[in-house]
Subunit: 373 residues, 2 copies
């Protein structure tokens, strides 16, 4: 286990290599990396000098840091602001972005930079994958959730009415830059929400990460750079390992990343998207999944309790918001892709650091796991 | 040289393998292949049972043959008709197609079938590349031009106002089926136009194909299956060789396919798209390029004359339509991507079956080559 060390406050703290053959890339994690972007890009062998900076409209100050830094190194920067929120992952926004790219003379020699959370990353990534049949992409995730989740894996895409992420591409970034200082402007509740995905990596793959979170919860909540850097790097490594085994979601291995997510999607849908943050729903969903595994005799109560205790310590919810109908949750889950002949499939833990896909879960068992909450 | 043999009228006549690592696929060429589609797909290991058939609205009878054949083999077929013409390569049509795919319950297990010319192939290919982040694609090109050109290479895409093919993806089909009978319903002028691209493969890469065209011009114009099958297969082989060396247009090798095309694009633009068919413009453009090469001392007049004689024999135009301003053509070419510091780059022949990218062509030489026409 790595000690939290506050002396390493500056610059790059961790590098994670994502191995995907000729699509391999590095994730740079540290402080004040936005200012040094052109150096990092030069180090990575970038020879482009025109960037399309696709930025969340709520973070103009970060966008300014990126564009000034690049411009002072001789880059031409075309900035496109994207309204915050899931609504921006639309055909209309993609179309607007393509047109802006065309109007700013974007060509094969240009680079797309995505600056923001998952929405901006998905939309800008899709534009990068499709403009001129593919441009180099630099991801700069600015929320904890996007840093530990959507910036690794190469999934990009937009929504159609009634279907999330249904149009998109697998498009790997050429580099991911995670500047810890972007987390300072993130609302605390959103920061905490992102921690749920970190706990997830612990339970599904990395017992040591789970231990680390338990031991260093306060340092993490205080956003101490060394602690943040460590948990982000470990999360990215975990996801990168899984993605490398199943880049295009063909072997089923990538499904383990959905631990807690079948319940979470139902919770988000029944509560109305946005009421419950994604990570909050995942935290509750993981508790439901763990209780389900317990009721099936797959794990002991110790794991359920350890997970609950850690989630609480990290200020995450572990129980259903009041007034939710369990029957309604079940109905929504039946529309989920994981349904087969009226029975559900779940990713369930078998011990700390290991999960399995379990088929044929009966309604009764699932409902019971949700009700205890 | 292969003899034209009219006894081979039935079924598969040629197979061309396109080698692209794990994206390799076969091109099946023959008669009455549309009726046998489900067999061909089963042979190729297809295990999908739902097809999204994207068809040109002008060929409902061919679409009917495909869907009946598949349905009688237990497939579910969702047909989407696309209006004829370049205007269908738009964000709006792509968006409509995505929505139709969603409404017909298209998922990762579905297959997209493109039935039509280049426009349908490009649009359906783009939808296949992006729906659910990528579906298997079967290309059934029904025009000679799309059979020898756009069905090989994996380029898919749509236009934005003012920019052709600017949004798209490289997405290889899993199989290409070329049914020679689809050419029977093609207007003669369009058929002849497609022959220009076949002549191109002869000049840039295959002297034997050039000879074959010269010897068998009448059989080809009479659409004798063995002759058609041979020239289509050789054209696909030539393009497949070039594409295999430069799948994503990074090495520059793919540029040789643009022989005659810088002039052709200018001609199409100045005449107004549609007035001059693409192949007609390519035929005139190749004569301009050959004359330019002659004026630079790169080839002898024999090649220019042989090319002109073959184009004429195949009923293709070799000279500019009357009333065109050469200065206007030059101006349009300067907006083309091949411009560098006011000088132009052209693909020029150095001998029969070999071309080179030549930089720094002066205005005077290019204009002279156009004027002789």
């Amino acid at each position: 286990m790595k000690e939290v060390n506050n002396s390493e406050l500056d610059e790059r703290l961790e590098t994670v290599d994502v191995f995907l053959g000729d699509r391999s890339y590095g994730i740079q994690i540290g402080n004040r990396l936005l200012e040094r972007l052109s150096d990092l890009m030069a180090e990575a062998g970038w020879n482009s000098k025109h960037a399309v900076l696709v930025a969340d409209s709520q973070i103009p100050q970060l966008s300014q840091i990126v564009s000034s830094g690049l411009e002072s190194s001789g880059w031409r920067v075309s900035t496109c602001y994207i309204p915050s929120g899931e609504g921006s992952k639309s055909v209309e926004q993609a179309s607007r972005l393509w047109q802006q790219m065309l109007d700013s003379n974007t060509d094969r020699g240009s680079t797309v930079i995505a600056l923001g959370g998952g929405v901006v990353g998905d939309l800008a990534g899709f534009a990068a994958a499709t403009f001129a049949r593919g441009l180099p992409l630099l991801q700069i995730p600015t929320t904890l959730l996007s840093q530990v989740d959507s910036s690794v894996g190469g999934k990009t895409g937009i929504n159609l009415p009634g279907a999330k992420n249904i149009v998109g591409a697998f498009w790997q970034p050429r580099m991911v830059v995670i500047d810890l200082q972007t987390l300072n402007s993130l609302p605390h509740r959103e920061f905490v929400s992102g921690l749920a995905e970190v706990v997830k990596y612990g339970v599904i793959l990395l017992p040591e990460l789970f231990e680390y979170l338990d031991t260093n919860a306060q340092s993490i909540l205080d956003k101490q750079p060394a602690a943040l850097s460590h948990i982000i790097a470990e999360s990215c490594r975990a996801k990168a390992l899984v993605v490398a085994e199943d880049e295009r979601e063909t072997t089923g291995r990538r499904a383990i990343l959905n631990y807690g997510h079948t319940f979470a999607h139902a919770l988000e849908s029944v509560c109305g998207y946005g009421k419950l943050l994604h990570g909050e729903a995942v935290a509750i969903g993981m508790q439901m999944a763990a209780r389900l595994a317990l009721s099936l005799g797959r794990i002991s109560s110790e794991l359920v309790e350890r997970q609950e205790s850690l989630l609480k310590k990290l200020q995450l919810p572990v129980a259903c918001p009041g007034g939710l109908s369990v029957e309604q949750l079940w109905k929504v889950m039946q529309h989920d892709k994981k349904v087969e002949h009226g029975k559900l499939r779940f990713i369930l833990p078998s011990r700390m650091g290991q999960v399995e896909l379990v088929n044929g879960i009966e309604q009764e068992a699932a409902i019971k796991a949700m009700q205890v909450a």
